[in-house]
Symmetry: C2
Subunit: 696 residues, 2 copies
């Protein structure tokens, strides 16, 4: 891993193209460095001036008298290549290129970006951008950006770091975080990532002891495995990571591709990547910052057990809904404890939610006493309190704070959430006491639920997986021309396939049917017809010789009508499969993260339901069982309404096996879909009825 400190915490900064107007573009950056208190030398470079904004200016980077950690290249795209070349030759350790008009702007721009990379090649100089809004570190006061984000002040040193693929998104997050009193300590807009990329930056921040919470904004990812490694590193070092990946919808994905010219891959794969690492995927700036606030300010919850308190029955109900919807657990208040609460507050309905009724407003210290009763002992990991606008009423605000602040100090191990509308001064008092404070109960519980999920998941190193069979190396998916080949490949992986016979004509089909025993299935064999059912290429439950001949004729006729271009290579005859549950099992190649394995309902239901679980390959049997358990189909597999349970163990083995094979074939970018995979009753295994193999 390279040392990114010249970029992230530079000790000296040069500004190529420094301007004297402190209110605009390049001049703004120079003002930020001067006003913001950068703690090292700043060297403006401008061939036309000897002084810029009160600093001595130099004609070229070569003229700068001291060593330069970071050079800001603030010249137009056309001049940037020469400037980067000069910096690299002058021994600058890192350059930030602001200009747009490179890879994001078509073929000519891509060519220009290649020349930019060439200009630094071999010198070891780090290159951030082009098309970057810059970077800052609040500890070194290196405010290197042309955004207006510091026009109304400079940040305190916070505990949050951010890497963003959109400078506009990142500057908005910076500003709103600062306004909420949770400032960012380090921030990088990575632009076109021609050299330093998002994964490398996240890796550096993962190792930064001054950062507790990492924010990331993605549109597309250039190096999936490096990103996975960086995010895993951050999680293993206890950072809370909150990511926004834009382009959830098809239209959003197209817009993202236009914006960053990256291949986004399948959005669901990002869901799985984030889930597997215990990273919260947020959908908006607001949600990102809500979670960041509880992570920075609130106490980390030890678990999901939550007690709800409210003087309003209405909010007690609403908080119950939102707690459950966010995966939190609401253990009932023990009967003896309920009695003690009623002794304090006679009208209370203390089941959990604990509704203390409006009565409590006349004796607020009791609220703290009830909280004590609930948090003594180990029934709850956290308490969420609704106080609302009554907490800010001039007649009540101090009494509320007196009741709640002291109680917080008595339970330092419990996470405390407070929904209140009060003065900024009172909010600060609650926050200092350990409360995470929100106005809206819904956002409060969403953020708490996210933190609980993140805290519960430690991304352990993957368990050792059964190694792939060496023989598989020779089993090339690129050799599969049709269904018969595909089924043979699946069979060689150890997944049972229904024994079928390739027949050239009706006579051969009759012979084959007699051999395997009636009833049989008859199917067309053709590399041109991946979806046989659609063209009438399948006849099931064929009971005698005449019916076999009729089936072959019918298939010929229907295929000729539907797809006259398709070459019929023959007919497959197989015994009917019998009873079982139809599943879909597949592997495919994600352009960013490599092979993924997919399991879900099979047959017609597959597409109708979208009931799928997905993992990065490989998975072991335990991982496969977890996947199966995520689908709604699992209820059927476990034995629905007194039906016998299906052979879930054999199914899990098949899922794991196929996922291991996919990894050996990652280079081929192969895609295999077994659909339907019939899961028979427990002890009777699975059988692949149809398979499709394609190499990318």
């Amino acid at each position: 891993m390279r040392d990114l400190s010249p970029l992230l915490r530079p000790r000296s900064i040069a500004m190529i193209g420094a301007s004297s107007d402190p209110r605009r573009g390049n001049g703004r950056t120079l003002r930020y460095l001067i006003e913001g208190g950068f703690d090292g030398p700043v060297y403006p470079v401008n061939p036309n001036r000897t002084e810029v904004q009160g600093l001595r200016a130099y004609a070229g980077i070569a003229d700068v008298p001291g060593p330069v950690d970071a050079a800001i290249v603030a010249v137009p795209a056309a001049a940037a290549v020469q400037a980067v070349h000069d910096c690299a030759r002058a021994g600058v350790r890192a350059a930030i290129v602001y200009a747009a008009g490179f890879a994001e702007a078509g073929a000519a721009g891509r060519e220009l970006q290649a020349r930019l990379v060439d200009a630094a090649r071999g010198t070891g100089m780090l290159l951030l951008g082009p098309n970057s809004l810059g970077a800052f570190d609040a500890r070194s006061r290196s405010f290197m950006t042309f955004s207006s984000m510091f026009d109304d002040g400079y940040p305190e040193v916070g505990r949050i770091g951010m890497v963003t693929q959109s400078g506009g998104y990142g500057s908005q997050v910076y500003k709103l975080a600062a306004d909420r009193g949770v400032p960012l300590v380090q921030w990088v807009s990575c632009g076109n990532e021609c050299d330093v990329g998002a994964a490398e930056l996240l890796h550096a921040m993962a190792h930064d002891g001054g950062i507790d919470v990492l924010l990331a904004y993605f549109e597309g990812v250039r190096d999936g495995p490096a990103l996975l490694a960086a995010l895993r590193e951050a999680r293993c070092r206890g950072k809370v990571v909150i990511a926004v990946k834009a382009g959830r919808t098809e239209a959003g994905g197209r817009a993202a591709a236009t914006h960053t010219a990256t291949l986004a891959g399948e959005d669901r794969v990002y869901d799985e990547v984030f889930r597997s690492l215990g990273i919260h995927r947020a959908d908006s700036v607001e949600e990102m910052l809500d979670v960041a606030c509880v992570a920075v300010r609130g106490r980390r919850p030890a678990g999901p057990r939550l007690v709800l308190l409210s003087p309003s029955g209405g909010f007690a109900v609403q908080m119950t809904d939102h707690a459950v919807q966010n995966g939190l657990v609401l253990p009932p208040v023990a009967p003896a404890l309920q009695e003690r609460i009623r002794a304090l507050v006679p009208n209370a309905m203390p089941a959990n939610p604990v509704d203390l009724t409006g009565q409590i407003l006349n004796e607020l210290p009791r609220f703290g006493e009830v909280l004590d009763l609930l948090l003594d002992g180990d029934a709850y990991d956290a308490a969420a309190l609704f106080v609302g606008m009554a907490g800010g009423a001039p007649t009540l605000a101090d009494a509320w704070a007196d009741a709640l602040v002291d109680a917080a100090a008595r339970h330092p191990a419990k996470a405390l959430l407070l929904s209140i509308v009060t003065t900024p001064g009172h909010v600060r008092r609650y926050e200092a006491a350990g409360y995470a404070v929100f106005e809206d109960t819904c956002r409060m519980l969403r953020a708490h639920g996210a933190l609980v999920r993140v805290a519960a998941s430690t991304p352990a190193e993957r368990p050792p997986l059964q190694p792939p069979d060496p023989a598989w190396a020779a089993l090339d998916p690129r050799g599969c021309r049709n269904e018969a080949d595909a089924r043979r490949l699946v069979g060689e992986l150890g997944i049972p396939v229904l024994a079928d016979t390739v027949c050239a004509d009706a006579d051969a089909a009759v012979q084959a049917a007699r051999r395997c025993g009636y009833p049989v299935a008859v199917k067309v064999l053709s590399a041109d017809l991946p979806h046989k059912t659609e063209v009438g290429g399948v006849v099931l439950d064929v009971f005698d010789d005449d019916a076999v001949r009729a089936a072959v004729a019918a298939i010929r006729e229907r295929v000729a009508a539907a797809r006259p271009d398709a070459r019929i290579e023959g007919f497959l005859v197989a015994p009917m499969a019998g009873d079982g549950i139809e599943c879909l099992l597949g592997v495919r190649h994600d352009p960013t993260f490599g092979p993924v394995v997919v399991f879900g309902a099979g047959g017609v239901m597959a597409e109708l339901l979208g009931d799928r679980a997905l993992r990065l390959a490989p998975v072991d049997e335990a991982g496969a069982l977890a996947m199966i358990g995520e689908t709604r189909l699992v209820r059927l597999l476990r034995g629905w309404r007194n039906q016998p349970a299906a052979d879930v163990a054999a199914l899990a083995a098949a899922v794991a096996q196929l996922s291991r094979y996919a990894v050996t074939q990652a280079a081929a970018g192969c895609s295999i879909e077994i659909n339907p995979l019939l899961v028979r009753r427990a002890g009777h295994g699975v059988v692949a009825l149809d398979a499709l193999v394609a190499a990318g």
Copy 2:
């Protein structure tokens, strides 16, 4: 409908139990009436004092010298019955009872509440509460509440009315709405609704010309039909209605039942009620107020067509996702128009989203010019602009406002949304120009999407429905004892059922099977076994006489093992149904809103999928088609992957028919479930394979 004006806009107010401490409970109400500027006489009633807070006090309500529109009964529950009695006898027109401890507090409380109602009976006096936090109308300055909600000031006269079943919820909404500059004009906490109820209050507000937006908070509804009528009235008069119904989750539903002691019914039915009337169902206070803000402040959108503008590619992508997720439509920018935009802003990517890139920050007037180009003509109903924190930077804030405010005036018919972080003064300037202003793009587009949906739906009077068959009156679901009866009933409604024969034993079953032709299905007949498959009571595909005997024996044995208590009344023999798509069609009785009809996937899939559409009964054929179209199953019914389309017309007729019958049997609270209903290919109708009838 009763005249609620004595309660909603009283001309004189008496305060029973007036206290001299203006900071607490009853004293607070009196202070609000004095300080808040109520425009009529206020009469404190207190037998122990001659003066309270500077006003002359009276010993009893009978001593008050003038007529009293509203009396606030602010005495403990035990004393409230006598106070209400005295008020009623003194000719008071409306009484508000604050005290809790009535129907929400168990059997003794229910009894006390009954006496409260008795005390006013026959006098025509309106009774609000008990357990009410009060009511206010900002026009008459009648601030009748003991909540602290006016402790820091009194509201301007706004355009929003609210009815709330939770005083705490309502006071929070009041406060946050006022803080956001969209104050409420009228507000009622309806408490236990012993007399005046939520529906009656909403009806009155629907007729109030000073109210444009109606907010409602429900936990349970006492009179479903009255609520439907009131909400329909509000919608027909052009009000935007935003409702929160708490208790979405099972745990939330239990908490709501504890809180209000009402029967909530099925949460999904509320979804359908709100959807059908064009009412936005919000999930939180914040969402409720976001939608209220765009409804009160922004311009009403003429349709869903939206153009997105941003100087940040990142937000262009995010807004695209959120627009699509909220049902908005993003028509592409016409190529010629794209050219004209590029002529103004060379680096722009103007497809929709229109990404103007950071370049635009150096020439902000161009932003307004691009907006003009997009909004001239009829391609878009609305524009959503992201400006973000750059809009509030001291160096840019005025230039942004200059560019955008003038443009708004040039397009008065277009809805305009602006996401910006700027000073309160600038926000006011944008709002005055017609922009709905938000910080967060996600919340902005959620609120706009909600308003578009609401605006698009006018709850027309229901089309005339085919009247129910008079013969149905005699067709009593309470007469159905078992499946045979249930199928007969369904058949008499004109929905084909598979002809079956009731057989006493195996010999009779063989005769029946020969008559209808092999293969057949054999099923157990027993009123004790509503779910026959679960106990092994069904054998399908029975091919000959011996197999019929084997099936009867197997069923006897399995049923005896699984349910030894069940009485076997015989066996049903029916021909096998052949091919088709298995659906579920049912009607059931909602405790609040009466008969509802449900359609979805049938067989085992029914519960696995939860793929159901629901309507209040009755529906006509067009309504039934719309229901069918809401399910994922419709893709199968329309002909999936070259399969023939199913007989959707016959299916719709069956849905409509059953829903009409359910209305005639509403008194019986009947529930009928046809599962599976087999839908054959187009032209071949439907056939009920199994049915279950239960009377409530």
